[in-house]
């Protein structure tokens, strides 16, 4: 990874500077997490690191249809050895075959569909929109052909060509199709389909409508032939402790993902957003209750079974918290403000109505001429017994300082 990233950077620097657009930015992004020591899923550091910082030098180059985005990263995590590595975020060429007909080869971000907190139609990039202090996205290797007219677009993309089944959905080879149309009434219409090893067929549609000068509404739904979620195999087989990681991906039948939302932005700079979504890949309330019961039975073996075996099993189960959505049903409310002078504060509430879970987030961004500072604080909680209230991390505070060098 280091060699490939460094080679790309050298190539970027070697191209003629006069004709190309070349930009560089420096980012420092520290994060401090407060563990929830009362959580049954908490096992303590170093399994749950509480302080980390990411330092990135981001380089972008555009020359004709050639595009490169590289990151040189130095990452520090408390009680661990610092890591340095290079990341090729994007490295692709956009070529033209004729009027309105283009092709793309290389590694490129392909974010599709509608949604703020959740994007069901994002079948290629599969961006986790709820991460705090997100690093720059990494594109998918792709061969694509795109057709554009004034109001319609088609994309046919072969992602991870020749790779076969991947370790996760992003890395899975697939054939993906995207259609977009701007309707005569001014609505954005979207449709996607994807054929992959892991999911089989996924197909969905979405739309955005602007109402007046201040409102927009949007919605999207996707059907997937196979649902997948990480489950603890001890649940249901009668076991209590495992000697090896019992978390395994369970493949289920067809399922749906859907999102619907409305957004208002006033001339004053205030804005609000309400969005609800359903994710068939997430746990149901009953599945969380069964995992909670297993974890409780593991803790009940304290003094009987080796402490390391109990801690290890709890740590394995805590992987259930790594999914983008903890429960299938989610509701997001957001209030934001833009003072038109670079100050943009916001507050968000994510609720999981099935179990009463809540996640509050407040943050602000300050933008100067070349600098940008973003601060945020997120707190998980809600009803006792809810997945978020039992999360091993209760609070996260983060910052990101970005300096555009040139």
């Amino acid at each position: 990874m280091v060699k490939r990233g460094a080679a790309s950077c050298l190539l970027a620097l070697a191209l003629p500077a006069g004709a190309a657009e070349f930009n560089a930015a420096l980012m420092v992004a520290p994060e401090v997490d407060t563990p929830n020591t009362a959580s049954p899923y908490y096992v303590g550091p170093p399994l749950v690191p509480d302080r980390a910082s990411r330092q990135d030098l981001e380089l972008r180059l555009r020359e004709g249809g050639f595009n490169v985005q590289e990151t040189l990263r130095w990452q520090t995590i408390r009680d661990r050895t610092p890591e340095q590595h290079g990341i090729a975020n994007q490295f692709y060429y956009d070529g033209e075959l004729g009027d309105g007909l283009g092709w793309t080869a290389g590694k490129k971000l392909m974010s599709w569909g509608v949604g703020f907190g959740f994007k069901p139609l994002d079948v290629v990039q599969r961006e986790n929109r709820r991460l705090v202090n997100r690093p720059a996205l990494v594109g998918a290797p792709v061969l694509a052909v795109e057709r554009f007219t004034a109001d319609e677009a088609w994309t046919v993309a072969w992602t991870h060509p020749g790779r076969g089944e991947g370790s996760d959905d992003f890395r899975d080879a697939s054939l993906a199709l995207r259609w977009y149309r701007l309707s005569a009434g001014g609505d954005d219409l979207h449709a996607v389909a994807r054929l992959s090893h892991r999911r089989g067929l996924e197909a969905g549609v979405g739309a955005t409508r602007v109402i007046g000068e201040e409102w927009s509404i949007y919605g999207a739904a996707l059907y997937e032939r196979r649902t997948r979620r990480l489950m603890n195999m001890l649940v249901g087989n009668g076991g209590t402790l495992a000697a090896a990681d019992p978390m395994s991906e369970q493949v289920g039948g067809g399922g749906t993902k859907a999102v619907a939302g409305a957004q208002w932005t006033g001339a004053s700079g205030w804005s609000t957003l309400a969005e609800a979504w359903y994710d068939a890949d997430a746990y149901s309330r009953a599945q969380w209750q069964r995992l909670d019961a297993l974890t409780a039975s593991q803790h009940a073996l304290a003094g009987i079974a080796p402490a390391a075996a109990i801690a290890g099993n709890v740590a394995w189960s805590s992987q259930a918290y790594l999914t983008p959505n903890l429960l299938r049903e989610n509701l997001l409310l957001r209030l934001g403000y833009d003072d038109r002078d670079g100050f943009r504060p916001y507050a968000e509430l994510l609720a999981t109505p099935r179990d009463g879970g809540r996640v509050w987030t407040i943050g602000a961004a300050f933008e100067g001429n070349r600098q940008r500072l973003a601060l945020g604080l997120r707190q998980a909680g809600g009803a006792d017994g809810s997945a978020y209230a039992r999360a091993p991390i209760r609070r996260a505070a983060w910052a990101e300082w970005r300096l555009a060098l040139f």
């Binding site: 956009d94 283009g102 007219t149 927009s216 100067g368």
Partner: protein, 258 residues
């Protein structure tokens, strides 16, 4: 309504030259800002706060007939951002996600330098109105280094314009055009609530023997300590292909050769 009637009555009472068709007047005024229907404009925006330069932004703007504009952000802190305007419909592309976001007219107004101020370079397609009266041309305030008062007083046509289409940046404009050649001098820009949001001053320069508006000064009424200077560094006739004005095409770098 009574104000409009009074303006119409005044227009009738004015000399014939002042009561010309407003659409024709606006087309003449537009020609000082856009020399062709399809253009590429290189724009430099300076944002001053309390008289000191606070921020500087660079934009490349492609304008086509049919109220179509594409704004490419070029400053290091905004590089990769794009705003597409198709009549009263707007999209924003952020480089982090590479996904065109549909935005409302209100969202288009957010940010430090309103993309509406940068990309909207004509009045004739968006506004109707009346010639309110004929007056001495307004003179820029003395504290504006970019705009200076002319050596001798000039006469101006004072136009009262109302938005003719939805999605325009300002609901109403009071526009002052130099009477003899219809050169834009000043505009008072009002938002939908009726409140004046900004005062714009237009700075002409001779380009190839013709007067052209090569800078626009914006004084913010809502944030009076702010002043924005929009420099049009180059305006080149250029007709980018229609498919580049497709929202889904924003993710491609197709305009690099245009």
């Amino acid at each position: 309504m009574s104000r409009r009637l009074a303006a119409l009555a005044l227009a009738v009472a004015l000399p014939a030259s002042a009561a010309e068709n407003v659409a024709a007047l606006l087309k003449q005024a537009d020609a000082f800002r856009l020399p062709a229907e399809s253009v590429r404009v290189e724009t430099q925006v300076e944002l001053y706060k309390n008289g000191a330069l606070d921020k500087e932004r660079l934009y490349t703007v492609y304008v086509k007939p049919g109220r179509r504009s594409l704004v490419l952000m070029k400053s290091p802190s905004e590089i990769g951002q794009k705003v597409l305007m198709l009549a009263d419909q707007f999209w924003l592309l952020m480089p982090e996600s590479q996904r065109p976001l549909r935005i409302t007219a209100s969202q288009k107004l957010l940010g430090e330098a309103s993309t509406g101020d940068i990309a909207s370079m004509t009045w004739s397609e968006d506004y109707d109105g009346v010639v309110e009266d004929e007056v001495d041309c307004p003179v820029p305030p003395p504290n504006l280094p970019e705009a200076t008062a002319p050596p001798k007083p000039r006469r101006c046509l004072h136009l009262d314009l109302a938005q003719a289409r939805s999605g325009v940046t300002y609901a109403r404009i009071e526009l002052y055009l130099e009477k003899s050649i219809k050169l834009p001098i000043k505009a008072d820009l009002y938002v939908g609530s009726g409140k004046r949001a900004k005062e714009a001053w237009y700075v002409p320069k001779p380009i190839e023997g013709q007067q052209r508006i090569m800078a626009m000064l914006l004084l913010d009424d809502i944030q009076p300590n702010r002043r924005t200077v929009v420099h049009y560094r180059s305006i080149v006739p250029k007709a980018a292909p229609d498919e580049f004005f497709n929202p889904a095409a924003l993710v491609r770098n197709s305009l690099s050769g245009w």
